[in-house]
């Protein structure tokens, strides 16, 4: 055995004498990760099954029905409110008109002047004109 071979043998013996021992915590961590992954994949597996599809479809139908019910009840409530308001305002207008004494809710003098003034002026004018014309006319 020459010097190089002897040296190589020492190197290989030294290399073989060094090692690392396994850390048990590594196995625990790996197991924990596997368990975590399996619980997550259990849910994913459920999502892939027909029962999950049926559940999803059922939930969709229920939510559509609920939203339609909400929309229709809102519409009905709005319609009733509008009808009542219209009826109330129409009724009160009719009652007011029936009860009116010709003043249309205004003070009596104002109502009579505003109602009579244009006709009086017209009649006066026309009376004057007519009297003038009557006077001029032979």
């Amino acid at each position: 055995m020459n010097g190089d071979d002897r040296f190589d043998e020492r190197i290989t013996r030294l290399l073989a004498a060094s090692h690392a021992s396994a850390n048990p915590a590594v196995l625990e961590r790996a197991r924990a990760r596997l368990a975590e992954r399996e619980s997550a994949s259990g849910f994913l597996a459920f999502l892939g099954r027909p029962v999950a599809l049926a559940t999803a479809a059922g939930l969709l139908v229920v939510s559509i029905a609920a939203s339609l019910a909400i929309v229709s009840s809102e519409r009905a409530a709005t319609a009733v409110t509008t009808a009542t308001a219209t009826q109330a305002s129409g009724g009160s207008l009719v009652a007011a008109l029936l009860d009116d004494d010709g003043t249309y809710g205004l003070p009596a003098e104002l109502a009579s002047s505003s109602v009579n003034a244009p006709s009086d002026a017209g009649s006066t004018g026309s009376a004057g004109q007519s009297s003038d014309s009557n006077g001029v006319t032979p």
């Binding site: 290399l15 690392a20 396994a22 790996a30 197991r31």
Partner: protein, 170 residues
């Protein structure tokens, strides 16, 4: 999961030794072994035993180590620490019939530093051959390269190690 415990009990030491020797960092080595266990668990149903379970497990570890070393190129290397053994998380078992003229611990520490300087492909073959005692054929299968390549890588690596330790020879 019980099978995983069995794999770890049998080959956990070899897997950790390979990862620690390749990465020179015990924390990273443990992370790699953990990832390897998950891959073994996932791939176990497809394992047909054409290659031994030990070689297969070590192959997974070697691939993960290569990925880490590739990433490390971009992230910067590890900080220098005086004790190569401590950083790598390796233990040295004193050799009984050793030549008393040479301090085996000093020489072993120098050898670890020399291994640090090897490129990953040479470090890999040195560790697999001399630390984990794999045959050339198993190494060729594990690394997916011809046996001739394994032998030439080994020869180059030993030449580098010899060069590093030249002054210590008597």
């Amino acid at each position: 999961m019980a099978a995983l415990g069995e794999v770890f009990a049998r080959y956990g030491g070899a897997m950790t030794t390979l990862a620690a020797s390749m990465l020179r960092n015990r924390t990273e080595a443990d992370d790699v072994v953990e990832d390897a266990l998950l891959r073994i668990h996932d791939a176990a149903p497809g394992f047909r035993g054409e290659r031994g379970l030990r070689t297969w497990s070590l192959r997974i570890v070697a691939n993960l180590c290569r990925d880490r070393l590739r990433r490390r190129k971009f992230q910067g290397d590890l900080p220098d620490e005086p004790d190569a053994f401590e950083r790598a998380g390796l233990k040295f078992d004193p050799i009984a019939d050793w030549d008393g003229a040479l301090d085996q611990r000093v020489m072993a520490a120098a050898l670890e530093r020399a291994i640090d300087s090897l490129p990953p492909d040479q470090r890999e073959v040195v560790v697999l051959r001399h630390r984990l005692d794999l045959s050339h054929a198993d190494m060729a299968e594990l690394l997916n390269v011809p046996e001739g390549t394994i032998k030439s890588r080994l020869a180059r690596a030993l030449a580098v190690l010899r060069e590093h330790l030249k002054g210590m020879d008597t």
